[in-house]
């Protein structure tokens, strides 16, 4: 499979291999978790057969790493038991299996109980779309944001992921990190400052605002560049916090640009678009409004870049949506 087919390859590195040709690249998730374990006595890391990403951590701090095997639901509940005993467990899991399969454990054992479990749902969205529809995680925002007490964040690139991991360490309740990794673009030159419940404005504009999350953010920035050449000034906001949601930023965007497009690598049901629509409706704000996400139908299967292209989570696709919004 691909030009590096002779090398043994952990599943989670498949896109790194195929798309970037950088074999064995240590991921920032593993690096950051190692740093956290070394900085704090209360951090432990658990995984359900996703340990390759934390290989250095498990070799250097074997007592602080718990492999639970291919048993995601048990992993979440075990983490809850550790959290109830004074630890801050980070569960490294795959979006589709970790998050969706474990919705009930997240709700009952982690969220109802207000425990400081951190749930790192890697390879979310379409990142594992090559493997089949079972591997899509396109309902996870809807599930996670409906769970009381659960903080839901989604980085748009490596630096924002690191910033979110670091800035939430001391949050007393549970945190769900939706990490896609289906795209590889860079949004931030420097690590952005994160404030709980606040979006991060990444580009100013006056004609429309694109509120995007995850890999939607670099797509929106690319679209803004394209549209700039056509004389449209499009603001781009990174919805890093999906819960609590930055209602002020949404209403500000409605007032200042009068047109909002949401972009997400998630179903159009219950995701960022739905969340923004709820805020607008409650406030009786009525800007031009459009939700751009994955259709509520059987999705195609393929490499993530091809799927993002297919569903228009690209600069061209988002630019088309903005033109449609402003038409």
């Amino acid at each position: 499979m691909g030009r590096n087919s002779s090398a043994a390859m952990p599943m989670e590195n498949v896109f790194t291999e195929q798309q970037q040709g950088r074999a064995g690249r240590p991921t920032y998730v593993g690096r950051e978790l190692l740093r956290l374990v070394e900085e704090r006595d209360d951090v432990v890391v658990l995984s359900a057969d996703m340990g390759a990403v934390v290989s250095e951590l498990r070799e250097r701090h074997p007592r602080r790493y718990f492999e639970l095997g291919i048993a995601e639901t048990n992993t979440v509940s075990v983490a809850a038991g550790l959290a109830a005993s004074g630890f801050r467990p980070y569960v490294v899991s795959m979006g589709p299996f970790g998050a969706i399969k474990c919705a009930e454990q997240l709700r009952a054992d982690v969220a109802y109980t207000h425990l400081p479990v951190r749930f790192v749902a890697r390879l979310s969205g379409l990142a594992m779309g090559f493997f089949g529809t079972t591997h899509h995680a396109v309902e996870d925002i809807a599930i996670a944001r409906s769970i009381t007490n659960l903080t839901v964040v989604a980085p748009s690139d490596e630096r924002s992921a690191v910033a979110l991991l670091r800035s939430t360490v001391d949050h007393p309740g549970p945190v769900f990190y939706r990490v896609s990794e289906g795209g590889t673009a860079t949004v931030y030159v420097d690590e952005p400052a994160m404030e709980r419940g606040r979006f991060v404005p990444v580009r100013p504009g006056t004609d429309a605002t694109v509120i995007a999350t995850g890999v939607g953010v670099p797509a929106a920035l690319g679209a803004a560049t394209v549209l700039d050449r056509e004389g449209m000034q499009v603001a781009v906001v990174d919805a890093v916090y999906l819960k609590p949601l930055d209602e002020e930023a949404i209403l500000r965007a409605a007032a200042s640009t009068g047109a909002i497009l949401t972009v997400e690598e998630h179903s159009v049901v219950g995701g960022l678009g739905g969340a923004v629509a709820e805020v607008l409706a409650r406030a009786r704000a009525a800007p031009r409004f459009r939700v751009h996400g994955l259709p509520d139908e059987d999705l195609d299967v393929g490499l993530p870049a091809a799927l993002l292209e297919r569903y228009g989570i690209t600069p061209t696709g988002v630019a088309d949506q903005v033109r449609e919004l402003l038409r």
Partner: protein, 300 residues
């Protein structure tokens, strides 16, 4: 300066007092359900002796300090039996006895299933069957990391063993050599819809746990002497094999009409006449045993 009083493991207890305590749990259960208007009788009655043996003999506790790090943990996996736990926790001083009067009412800290956020003395919430043994494994791992010798007890129903997550936890406990984890199965032979093994066979329970690397003991779950013995003989919490106690029990134990039709009393509300008859039956047994030590109204 001395700290709050510790109730040590294996503290002396008169076996007749334990028997009376179990019947007192049944009596209080009927009274609390009567106040609330709904509740789980027969599943609570099957584990009354188990709860009595744990809280009045086996567990190391410090009721004045419910979060004391070295306390033994008790997780009520079969959370629907919480109505039997509330009078015990009140009696031991975890919260005032008058909290019981609002059991099951909106805003009450004491619900049909236990909530660790609202009720002192509850080490973990439950309500969704099959989760608590996993949580107990997490607590067992935490004890290892903190070099503490507390035990984590998890009381499950036999029907709860049909949940797949239980067996993920059973695997994990032996994999991580958690001799500090003790599962007690209240094997009353019934789940919500009928005889447990008619729905899905879970026998032989002990052999299944043994196949997963656990030590097992099988006892009559209404024989307080046997329960005391099995708690006294548990391997050290620093040992490396978890223990499963299969307690053979009778659903509805202690009230004749519930023993006859245990399924009918899984969830319900006795009529005033049935309630009075059940209370008379239990009170007759309590009178027949000599009173010792503190009275039974200790939570008042």
């Amino acid at each position: 300066m001395t700290g709050p009083a510790v109730l040590e493991r294996g503290r002396p207890v008169d076996l007749d007092d334990l028997r009376r305590r179990a019947d007192w749990v049944r009596l209080r259960t009927i009274q609390l359900i009567d106040l609330a208007g709904l509740g789980h009788y027969s599943s609570t009655f099957s584990c009354a002796e188990i709860l009595a043996a744990l809280y009045y003999h086996g567990l190391r506790l410090r009721p004045d300090e419910p979060e004391w790090p070295d306390r033994d943990r008790f997780l009520l996996g079969k959370g629907h039996a919480a109505v039997g736990l509330w009078p015990i926790l009140a009696d031991l001083g975890y919260f005032p006895g008058d909290w019981l009067e609002r059991f099951g009412q909106p805003g009450s800290p004491l619900n049909d299933h236990p909530n660790m956020r609202t009720a002192p003395g509850i080490d973990f919430s439950s309500g969704s069957l099959g989760h608590n043994l996993s949580v107990g494994v997490g607590m067992g791992l935490a004890a290892r990391l903190q070099d503490r010798d507390y035990r984590t007890f998890v009381l499950t129903g036999d029907g709860e063993l049909q949940e797949g997550q239980v067996w993920e936890a059973v695997m994990a406990a032996s994999h991580y050599r958690l001799g500090n984890v003790v599962a007690i199965v209240d094997a009353n032979g019934f789940s919500g819809g009928g005889p447990t093994s008619h729905a899905m066979n879970i026998e032989p329970i002990a052999a299944r746990f043994e196949a997963f690397g656990w030590l097992t003991a099988e006892v009559d779950g209404h024989d307080v002497a046997a329960l005391v013995d099995v708690l006294d003989e548990l391997p050290s919490p620093r040992s490396d094999v978890p223990t499963c106690v299969v307690a053979r029990t009778r659903k509805g134990r202690g009230v004749a009409m519930m023993e006859r039709t245990p399924q009918a009393w899984h969830l319900g509300l006795l009529t005033p006449e049935q309630r009075d008859e059940a209370l008379r039956e239990i009170e007759a047994r309590l009178v027949s045993l000599p009173p010792r030590g503190g009275g039974l109204g200790g939570e008042e």
